[in-house]
């Protein structure tokens, strides 16, 4: 019973938890809501662990499968399952949500129950996205997430939150509806089936493939986000509360990249090959141009948001060079960026909670007052620049290695992120943390509380482990990535 429905439990436990938390009512019961939220997120994290522990490394077939009819008239099924591509993303989701709850523990003071419920519901929906094997089920999870995210940014965000959240909603909604049209088209091509595995088998002409590719691209590229459809992200990230930024950066962006692997590459392999140059060009623009834009930011959150776009450019670059190093590197980069960007957003959150400013110039010399915090931030800043020994290095190295095999110039351009990344991250770090204390507000800072040390420490572990010993992360994806590459290499014309 437990093993058969494990994925369903992972999805519905946090959603039920969200409803329970919501039932605690107003802010007079905030403490109860917080503890319940923590219990449910930790419980979800624990139930997702067997997904990794019992994962069979030697098959590319879907595991932990659940399949039962849902809407018979349109052969929509409740079909769940995971492979090496999705398993780590699910664990990342359940891990980050625990951190979000801890991070918002004393910071969020108004509408606590609603805040925690929104995150718990989101967690369930995100796990649903990564485990859905039916296109409509996938779409339902994918789109449902917009509602809690819309509320999270709009209710607990910064001063310009309403503009940001409406922009976020409309941008992502526009992207996904075209994907829906593509799914329905594929449904008729696949003899009335919404099964993703059946979609993988459908024979399609080149024109149809190209159109489907762009319909899917609209949904995934907006989520990732790729240049030039990235403009919602800095706004949403900057205005979202810290927890919202963490979930956005760590998981939501990964859903777009995951979509490319699950849908675009295997369903329209010929169009993917045909348009690989286009995708690589967009990725390189994101890496180089957005890298330069990042240098100019004066707002710490905006800086990290732009840096996310540049790092996600690496991921798409890795995917569209079609070799194992590239795709595995892209996947590792997704996981690693999940940890690093969450950590950096949480660091900014720690500072913001004290001084209520995200401007770099309002700080300076923080290390003098907050040595423990400064060392943590140092680690994450270096990981963001891709220092060997941290998780940031592994993914970037693999992608550059893969790119080198295809075209030396791709590798050269991609490697510039290492320089630019170091420039913007370390420059920000220097201006915020080092130097003499010149402002009274900074002089009054107090070092990280045990709660803050807890969540920063929890993130430091995977960043270091993944950097020093990436094997456990890579071995789960090998077989699935090889299978994917086979699918991409098989023409459907």
């Amino acid at each position: 019973m437990f093993a058969e429905h494990l994925l369903s439990i992972c999805i519905w436990l946090p959603i039920v938890g969200g409803i329970v938390v919501l039932a605690t009512g107003g802010d007079q019961n905030a403490a109860a809501a917080r503890y319940l939220g923590l219990i449910f997120t930790i419980a979800t994290f624990i139930v997702t662990l067997p997904l990794y522990a019992d994962f069979n490394l030697h098959t590319s077939a879907m595991q932990f499968v659940e399949d039962r009819p849902w809407v018979d008239a349109f052969s929509i099924r409740y079909h769940l399952g995971i492979d090496g591509i999705s398993v780590l993303l699910i664990l990342l989701t359940s891990f980050c949500t625990v951190l979000v709850v801890i991070a918002g523990w004393s910071v969020i003071q108004k509408k606590v129950a609603q805040y925690l419920a929104a995150f718990l519901v989101m967690e369930g929906l995100m796990i649903g996205v990564f485990s859905a094997l039916d296109a409509i089920l996938f779409y339902v999870f994918w789109e449902s997430m917009l509602i809690p995210m819309f509320v999270i940014i709009g209710l607990w965000g910064g001063p310009n939150r309403v503009y940001a959240t409406i922009k976020f909603f409309l941008y992502t909604f526009l992207g996904s509806v075209l994907m829906l049209v593509a799914f329905i088209y594929l449904y008729y091509q696949a003899d009335r089936s919404f099964d993703i595995a059946t979609f993988h088998q459908v024979q399609l002409g080149m024109n149809a493939q190209i159109l489907i590719f762009f319909a899917l691209f609209a949904a995934f590229a907006v989520k990732i986000p790729m240049w030039p459809v990235h403009t919602w992200l800095p706004d949403a990230h900057t205005e979202a509360p810290t927890g919202g930024s963490v979930i956005l950066a760590a998981i939501l962006l990964k859903m777009g990249a995951y979509g490319f692997l699950r849908f675009s590459l295997p369903i329209v392999p010929d169009a993917s090959h045909q348009l690989a140059g286009f995708m690589i060009a967009l990725s390189l623009v994101a890496i180089v141009y957005i890298g330069l834009v990042t240098l100019m930011q004066t707002d710490m959150k905006k800086l990290i948001a732009y840096s996310s776009i540049a790092h996600m450019g690496f991921v798409t670059l890795g995917f569209f060079i079609f070799n194992p190093q590239g795709i595995e590197g892209g996947l590792v980069q997704m996981i690693s960026h999940g940890f690093i960007s969450s950590a950096l957003f949480l660091c900014v959150g720690v500072l913001y909670d004290r001084l209520h400013s995200r401007e770099i110039e309002d700080y300076g010399g923080v290390a003098n007052r907050m040595p423990v915090f400064a060392s943590f931030m140092m680690l994450f800043a270096l990981a963001n620049t891709g220092l060997p020994g941290t998780s940031g290095f592994v993914g970037e190295f693999l992608v550059i290695l893969g790119a080198y095999q295809v075209n030396v110039w791709y590798a050269v351009l991609a490697a510039t992120i290492l320089v630019l990344g170091a420039a913007y991250t370390l420059w920000m770090y220097k201006r915020v943390i080092f130097g003499a204390v010149t402002k009274d507000s900074v002089a009054a800072l107090e070092d990280a509380t045990p709660r803050e040390v807890l969540f920063l420490g929890l993130l430091a572990i995977p960043v270091l482990v993944m950097g020093l010993w990436p094997f456990p992360f890579l071995e789960v994806m090998h077989v699935s990535v090889d299978h994917l590459l086979e699918q991409v290499a098989t023409s459907k014309l």
Binding site: V71, I136, S144, I147, L170, V181
Partner: protein, 481 residues
């Protein structure tokens, strides 16, 4: 020729509601002002009784009576049952509202019930005359209901506009029917169908008649470019009447489409498909774009209803059973959403205050997180965002359009849906992100609170059973006699 004695049994629900309407009118004369609640209960009992009678008829095989003027089939049953349910909710939502505004009179309920009879007859019509009879019975009841607040200039103006435009549209429909009669010599729909089958599908006079029929339908459903009355009537009528107009008659409108276009003129589908496509695209475009500019929520929902009618037509344009059942599903879902949305307006209104502006929803999350959540579900459902049932409605009609290869139409539809999402989320925005200006506690009777909760939650919780609902719609359409 001996006169045949019609089988009254099949028309029992109509006869019952009609008789109860007359009874209530008489009872109203004798009850005192304090005991008027009796009228309300009698009306609800009428609906329940009619539902019981219709359920009882479910097992009776489909058939015709009254010399082929009246049909009893799965479609008529489905539409009637949905109508009772919706009107039952409408009465509960309206009760306190009309009492506070001095409209709690026997006539109000009698007119509503006669409207119900009109809709029932439309659902069961298999003859141009019965169809027209049902349509006019509904329309005349609605004109009077819109004007029910005699002293309100706004309502009187709305009633006037509604009456004039409604009369014109009836005239147009009737003219179309008379052309068809002139050509075929037939008034019963099955006969028209047979006669049309023997004619050239591009016969100019036939198409001429068809155009008038389609225009008449578009007028009644409020599709662009025949939508001018919708915003004014929705805005000007008392909210309880808007609630009535905006819900059940849309379902009856589906019956009108099915009986006339599909039942009678399906052989001309090639022609009416093009016409409906134009109506659908224009309705989605104008409805969604103009709604953005509205600050009055009743007007906004009026334009939203226009755009929803566009989506509804998408289900009909592909002229396949699959499409019709998706259109039925769409119109049912729309009726439920519209019921909830206008119900929320009534809930926030109180004596001497009409919550008509979008700004009246400001800070609803502070005043009552529960109602704000319900409205959030309603708005996201109208926008077609999963996991609400509004998504499945849009999914189905878009699917039916892609089935016949009209992918460009599907892409247009989803783009307009995105434009539409803007004004729905604006309501969510004011509820959740703005501070309340008005902190009066929201009070409502227990039954209203329960029903509006059911109304909102069903949009979310129906998800696992959505397949069953779709099946029922499919069977209702497949069993058309």
């Amino acid at each position: 020729m001996t006169p045949e004695i019609p089988n009254m049994w099949l028309a029992l629900p109509e006869i019952f509601v009609c008789a109860m309407g007359c009874l209530i009118l008489c009872v109203d004369l004798f009850v005192s002002k304090q005991a008027r609640m009796v009228i309300y209960w009698l009306s609800q009992v009428t609906l329940l009784g009619a539902a019981a009678l219709t359920l009882n008829l479910l097992m009776t095989p489909a058939g015709m009576t009254f010399s082929g003027m009246f049909v009893h089939d799965s479609l008529s049953n489905a539409i009637k049952l949905a109508t009772y349910l919706i009107v039952f909710f409408v009465f509960v939502y309206s009760r306190d509202y009309i009492r506070e505004r001095g409209m709690f009179r026997g006539e109000y309920f009698v007119l509503s019930l006669f409207g119900v009879v009109g809709m029932m007859i439309m659902a069961s019509a298999s003859h141009f005359l019965t169809l027209y009879l049902g349509l006019e019975l509904l329309a005349l009841s609605l004109y009077a209901m819109v004007a029910f607040q005699r002293d309100s200039a706004q309502a009187t103006e709305a009633a006037m506009k509604y009456f004039v435009l409604g009369a014109i549209s009836s005239g147009i429909l009737l003219y179309g029917m008379s052309i068809l009669y002139g050509l075929t010599g037939m008034l019963d729909i099955a006969g028209v169908r047979q006669a049309v089958a023997g004619m050239a599908a591009d016969d100019v006079v036939l198409i001429f008649g068809l155009v008038f029929v389609v225009v008449g339908i578009a007028f009644k459903l409020g599709a662009v470019p025949f939508h001018m009355w919708v915003p004014d009537v929705y805005h000007g009528a008392p909210t309880s009447v808007t609630l009535y107009i905006g819900t059940a008659p849309k379902i009856a409108g589906f019956a009108l489409v099915m009986r006339l276009l599909v039942g009678g003129l399906e052989d001309l589908a090639v022609s009416w498909q093009d016409m409906l496509t134009i109506l659908a695209v224009l309705s989605m475009a104008i409805g969604n774009v103009v709604a953005i500019a509205q600050s009055n929520i009743k007007r906004m929902l009026a334009y939203s209803s226009i755009s929803h009618m566009g989506f509804f037509f998408l289900g009909v344009v592909n002229a396949t059973p699959n499409g019709y059942s998706s259109a039925l599903f769409y119109v049912l879902v729309y009726a439920v959403m519209s019921l909830g949305a206008f119900g929320m307006i009534i809930l926030l209104s109180r004596s001497g205050f009409e919550a008509e502006r979008v700004d009246d929803f400001k800070g609803l999350n502070q005043r009552s997180p529960w109602y704000a959540f319900l409205m959030l579900l309603l708005m996201f459902s109208m926008a077609g965002a999963p996991p609400t049932i509004g998504f499945y409605a849009k999914l189905l009609v878009i699917q039916s359009v892609i089935e016949v290869g009209m992918i460009w139409l599907a892409i247009l539809a989803v783009l307009f849906a995105v434009i539409g999402a803007y004004y729905y989320i604006r309501v969510v925005k004011v509820m959740y992100f703005d501070d309340a200006e008005d902190t009066t506690p929201i009070t409502a009777s227990l039954d209203m609170r329960v029903l509006i909760g059911v109304n909102g939650l069903v949009l979310l919780l129906a998800m696992p059973w959505v397949g069953i609902i779709i099946d029922v719609c499919g069977r209702a359409v497949a069993g058309i006699y």
